[in-house]
Symmetry: C2
Subunit: 250 residues, 2 copies
């Protein structure tokens, strides 16, 4: 049916890709708010109305770019996880976090598209959900490994949070303890607070050496989320500075 049959179908996916590519360029130059379909068409040498054969409206173009961005950052996270496959959970965590930050700094406008101000009146369709979850799934995977390998402390939850934690765990990672999932989600949001502040310039004139600052903050987050150095037979990384069993109050 809709395979790469004729020259027509082939041309269609080529033009679609060219539009997205040019749109991404404009995104980097002007930002999402000023993304102009007419300008994209002009740069591609086609009539402005021709764009609408490929994307019914501006928001749909944005949706395509959003999905691509989620896939891109998700892929980066997965690659970082795989590159640090032999290291311990804390090293894997920090490696993934630093790669997420690196991606954000390399693609600030695409980062803004997915983690910044949502486009007004635009609600992301359901198709964006799976790509959006890729990054978080990488983090959850690291926690899962640590959980199975005694490298994860189970934080103590207050009773009032327990039902919500159980609910969250059921929809996100049913095989992990609810305490871990709840803490993980909060930590995940906090991580993007750090990244966002840097990308959006909130650290200007305040934090200078942001590499080191971020590295330290992310190690602290690893502790917050419950990652500790394994207690029996340390993993690949140096395990000199041992961690506590660490059950935190309230």
């Amino acid at each position: 049916m809709s395979s790469t049959h004729g020259a027509r179908a082939r041309a269609r996916i080529e033009v679609t890709a060219a539009i997205k590519e040019e749109a991404r360029r404009q995104l980097a130059n002007e930002g999402a708010a000023k993304l102009s379909l007419r300008a994209v068409a002009r740069e591609l040498g086609m009539a402005s109305s021709a764009i609408y054969r490929y994307f019914p409206n501006r928001d749909d173009l944005l949706t395509a770019l959003i999905i691509d961005a989620y896939d891109s950052i998700g892929e980066a996270a997965e690659a970082a996880r795989d590159a640090a496959a032999d290291a311990g959970p804390i090293e894997r965590w920090t490696t993934v976090c630093e790669r997420l930050r690196g991606w954000a700094l390399e693609h600030p406008h695409e980062y803004a598209l997915i983690y910044g101000t949502p486009v007004p009146g635009y609600t992301a369709p359901a198709t964006t959900v799976p790509p959006a979850a890729r990054g978080a799934m990488v983090a959850i995977g690291i926690l899962r490994d640590a959980h199975q390998g005694l490298g994860l402390a189970r934080p103590v939850l207050p009773d009032e949070l327990r039902p919500e934690a159980v609910r969250m765990a059921a929809t996100v990672a049913p095989d992990l303890p609810p305490e871990v999932v709840a803490t993980m989600l909060a930590t995940w949001a906090q991580l993007f607070g750090l990244i966002g502040f840097e990308v959006f310039g909130q650290f200007n004139r305040v934090v200078e050496d942001r590499d080191i600052f971020f590295r330290h903050a992310v190690r602290q987050l690893a502790h917050t989320v419950g990652l500790v150095y394994p207690q029996q037979g340390p993993a690949a990384g140096r395990a000199g500075s041992a961690g506590r069993p660490a059950a935190r109050p309230s």
Copy 2:
């Protein structure tokens, strides 16, 4: 010179206020990207060109709204701090954090204006810096009080972060230990990660009971930033669940 002399000057500041007010209304309805000067003028019953007597261009109107928003959230933080003046540092911290979140949920578009994606090509003028710092100053004040009252643990910093921590402390809070300032800045960014995820809908379909989730996360942040219940003579709040001295590794 430029006091409230004639009826003309009075009218000017009245019209300026009316423009900002109407602009804020449009902001809440349509978002910053679709803020239309013509629509503002139309709603105010004046010619579109008349707006430019008061704001030379659209970005300057946005700048005014940004400053107002910073002042508004800063004022909210200060009010929360004063309302909890008699409580202990942890209660003050959580009260301020929950007020910040409350303000953000009440004014999502103004929140997006100051903590979301920056307007492309627009760099905030220096006049926005003092209002922007108001909120963080409230948090620093709480830490200062706790520091003087033995309610603050001094976290252990790795050596590589020390010079940067000293630099940050010098420009932000010279009277506080560098470790505290460094940890505080990271925690501050993480707090806005939590708020941003909620305001921008990243928690949709994942976190249901966000009040409780946020309250727990903020208590955890209080621990991260080093706030503990005072060791000699507990403060006003209940001090039953005592905290550890808590010096954290790496």
